[in-house]
Amino acid sequence: MKRLANLPTGALLFILLLAIIFPFAPLSLYYTHVMILIFIWAAVTTAWSYMARFGMISLCHGAWMGIAAYTSVLLFNFYHLSPWMGMWLGLLGVAIAAGVIGYACFRFGLIGHYFAVTTLVITELVALVIIAFRHITGGRLGLSVKPLGTAPLYFQFESKVPFYFAALALLLLSLYIWRKIDQSKAQKALAAIGEDEVAASSIGINVVRYKTGVAVISALVTGMGGIVYGQYIMYLNPITMVSIGASLVIVFMGILGGMLTLWGPMVGAILMTGLQEYIRIAYGTVLMGWAWVAYGVIIVVMIIFLPEGLHGTLIEALHKRRMRKAARV
C-alpha cells in the first residue's frame, strides 16, 4: 500500500524537472499564474490533510492563512518591516493561536463534528475581528500591500517567476513534512488516536501532545501559504481569505482529491484551481457562482459514493487489481 502511494523516484525527479523549467517555457504568463495558485493551494491543502487524515477536520485553515498574512502585511505597511522578518512574527502568531486553540480543544476531548464546528466559529471570529479593526485592516474592503516594484528584500517582485519558485518550494516543504510525519512514530500514534482516543491514551500515547503538535505544524505551513499568497496577489480580503468560504475551499480540495494519501490534496487543488481559472477566463465571473454550485453537487456526490476522494479511490482500485493479479499468478 505504501509503495503504491508513492511514485517511482525517476518519475518524481522528471516531474520536478518539468516544474523547474516550466516558467521559462515560451508559454503565456497566465499559465505561470495558474501554476502559482495551484502550488499555494496544494501546499495549504496538504497541510490541512496532516490533521484531516487522522480525523481532525479543521475549518479554520483560512483563519491561519489570514492571521499570518495580515500580520506580515500590516507590519510592512505601518512599520516598513520587511515581510522576510514580519513573516516570522506572523507565523509565531499562528503557532500560538493554533497551539492554544488546539490544546483547549484536545484537552477537553472535542472530536469529530464538535471540533469542526469549533474551528468554524474560530474562523468567523478571526474574520470578524479583522473586519472590526477596519481603521487598520481596511475591514471588508480588504488590505493592499504597498507596492515597491521589484524589491527582493521586501519579498516583492514584478516578475512572476520568483513567486513561482517560492510557491513550488512551499509545496515541496509541505509534501516533505507530510512524508516526515507519515514515517515517524507520530503517524502510528495519531492513527491510533484517530481510531479510538481512550484506547490510545490507555497504552500511553500522549493524545493532547500529539494532536496539538500536528495542529501547530499544519497551521504553520498554512500560515506560510497565506504569506506567499498575500505577497503574490498583494491584496488581502477577510471575506475571500479568512471566512467560512475560504476554509471550505481547502476542505473541498482535500475531499475531492482524497485526504488520506500524499498526492490526494494536490490532485484536488489542481482540479479545483484549474477548473476555477478555466471557467473564470472562458465564461467570466458570472458563471463562477454556478461553478461553485457544481462543485457543491460534486462534493456531495463524492462524500456519498467516494468518501476516499478521487486519488484515494484510484489507488484503492489499482491496489485491488494488483492483488487480484498476484492471486491469479
Partner: protein
C-alpha cells in the same frame, strides 16, 4: 435609557432566534444530523418572498406560504437524497455534505438574484412606550415566533405524529420496534424543520433586506444557541436564545456592530470547551 432600548430589542431578537434554534435542535435531536444550511433556508425563503411579491405581484401572505412550501420541499429532498444515504456514515461526512449544500444554496442565490441587497418595501410604524422605541416588525416577529414555538410544543406533545417524533428522538430502535418507521419520522421532522425556517423567513421580511450571504451568521448563531442550551434540549435552547439575543444587541450597542457576534462566538468557545453539555444539559460523556 438607550441601554434599556438595546435590551428590549435583544429580547425581541431572541424570539426569532428561539424559533431558529428550535428547528436546528429538533433536527439534531431526532435525525442526529447538524442542519448546516439552516440559515441558508431562511435566506432562500426571503428571496422567494421577494420574488413573489415584488416581481410577480403576488399578495404577501400567499408568497409567504409559497416560500414555506418551497423550503419544506427543499428539506425533504435533501433528507431523501443526501442525509438518508449518509445516516450510517461518520458524523463528519454528514456535516461536510450539508456544508456543501450550504455552498450550493448561497451560490445559486448569487447566480439567480445577484449580490445586491433585495427587500420587500413594507414600512411599519414604530411604537413608543415612555422612552423605549419598538419597531412593530420586531414585535410581530417576536409574538409570531413565540406562538409558533407554542404550537410546535403542542404538536410534539399532543399529537400522534409529534409523539412518534419524540419517541424516535429518545430511542430509535425501541420506536421502530413499536411500529414507527424512522425513515418516515425523519422525513416528517425535516419537513417540520423546513416549515420553521420558512416561517422565520416570513417574519424576517419586514425586518431585513436579504443578500446571498445572509444565512451564514444565522446558522452559526442558531448553532451557538443550540450548544449553549445543550444539544437536543429544547427548553435550554429557548433560554439560550434570549441570552444570546440580549448579549448581541447590548454588546453591539456598547461597542461596534461586530462586537455582538464576536462576544457570542467567544461565549460559544468557552461553553464548548468547559461545558459542552450546555447550560441546562446533563453531562453524558465520560472522556
Amino acid at each position: 435609557m438607550v441601554l434599556l432600548n438595546a435590551i428590549v430589542s435583544g429580547i425581541l431578537f431572541g424570539g426569532s432566534l428561539a424559533l431558529l434554534a428550535y428547528g436546528l435542535n429538533l433536527c439534531f435531536g431526532v435525525v442526529q444530523v447538524i442542519h448546516f444550511f439552516y440559515g441558508q433556508c431562511v435566506m432562500l425563503g426571503l428571496y422567494i418572498i421577494y420574488s413573489a411579491t415584488v416581481l410577480w405581484h403576488i399578495p404577501l401572505i400567499v408568497s409567504c406560504l409559497i416560500a414555506v412550501a418551497a423550503i419544506i420541499i427543499l428539506n425533504v429532498v435533501v433528507q431523501l437524497a443526501v442525509v438518508q444515504p449518509l445516516l450510517k456514515a461518520p458524523m463528519i461526512n454528514q456535516f461536510l455534505a450539508l456544508a456543501s449544500i450550504m455552498t450550493i444554496l448561497e451560490n445559486s442565490a448569487m447566480g439567480i438574484w445577484g449580490a445586491t441587497y433585495k427587500g420587500v418595501p413594507i414600512s411599519l410604524p414604530v411604537l413608543t412606550i415612555g422612552e423605549i422605541y419598538i419597531r412593530t416588525s420586531n414585535l410581530i416577529a417576536f409574538v409570531g415566533c413565540l406562538i409558533v414555538v407554542g404550537l410546535l410544543y403542542l404538536f410534539l406533545n399532543k399529537t400522534y405524529t409529534g409523539l412518534a417524533i419524540r419517541a424516535t428522538a429518545q430511542d430509535k430502535e425501541m420506536a421502530s420496534l413499536t411500529g414507527m418507521n424512522p425513515r418516515i419520522v425523519y422525513v416528517i421532522t425535516l419537513a417540520l424543520v423546513g416549515a420553521l425556517a420558512g416561517v422565520v423567513a416570513a417574519f424576517f421580511v419586514p425586518i431585513y433586506p436579504v443578500h446571498p450571504h445572509f444565512g451564514g451568521p444565522f446558522t452559526v448563531m442558531a448553532f451557538v444557541i443550540v450548544i449553549l442550551g445543550g444539544m437536543g434540549n429544547l427548553a435550554g435552547g429557548f433560554l439560550a436564545a434570549f441570552i444570546i439575543g440580549v448579549v448581541t444587541m447590548v454588546v453591539s450597542f456598547l461597542t461596534i456592530p461586530e462586537g455582538g457576534p464576536i462576544a457570542v462566538y467567544l461565549i460559544f468557545l468557552v461553553v464548548i470547551v468547559f461545558r459542552p453539555q450546555g447550560l441546562l444539559g446533563v453531562r453524558e460523556r465520560t472522556g
